[in-house]
Symmetry: C2
Subunit: 111 residues, 2 copies
């Protein structure tokens, strides 16, 4: 995974999505996740996302958005809604979604 | 890693810390990270944290805080400042810190 950099100066918004599924990650889950990654990138206001999942099936995905309206648009996307419903039915044991406004950011790059 | 749950209702705050270091993770880095985990838990306003790092050395750590003042207190902690300075000197190739106010949260638990 690559870190998201070159975001605009704050304020911008973040959606922190943490989840637990039973390993190993099912192939159809991975396909859905890839499709949602591709779809998110087409959404107005999408700035980038980062995602990691450990061998125990615990994952963190953070997506960054220009404003709160962009997040609501993504939430309402019908394909996204269907994917989330499948996730609840088939894959996720638990998840948490936290919507947050980023007010300050600091970057370090080794020179 | 365990997911943080049972947070209070929003608003609360999150610090999104993403970083890249050169794998394998050095033993002295892991010791520092463990010490900082323990220290953070003693800070006023600390609510929990989640952390994952992949084999390529890319990591996401999210810590949750009662309010912005708690985050400033943790930022000013001298042992934490020393650890961050060591990180810049020795370990991190790059990092990003994003301070955000969580305004909405949704939880799903399979019944």
């Amino acid at each position: 995974m690559s870190l998201v950099r070159n975001l605009p100066p704050p304020p911008y918004w973040a959606v922190i999505f943490t989840s637990k599924l039973d390993p190993p990650v099912p192939a159809d889950y991975a396909a859905m996740a890839d499709a949602m990654d591709d779809l998110a990138k087409t959404q107005p206001g999408y700035l980038g996302h980062e995602s990691l999942r450990d061998a125990a099936g615990t994952g963190i995905t953070i997506s960054y958005w220009r404003d709160e309206a962009s997040i609501l648009g993504w939430k309402r996307d019908l394909d996204h809604q269907a994917a989330m419903a499948s996730g609840r039915d088939k894959w996720y044991r638990r998840y948490h979604i936290r919507v947050a406004e980023v007010s300050r950011a600091y970057d370090f790059n080794r020179t």
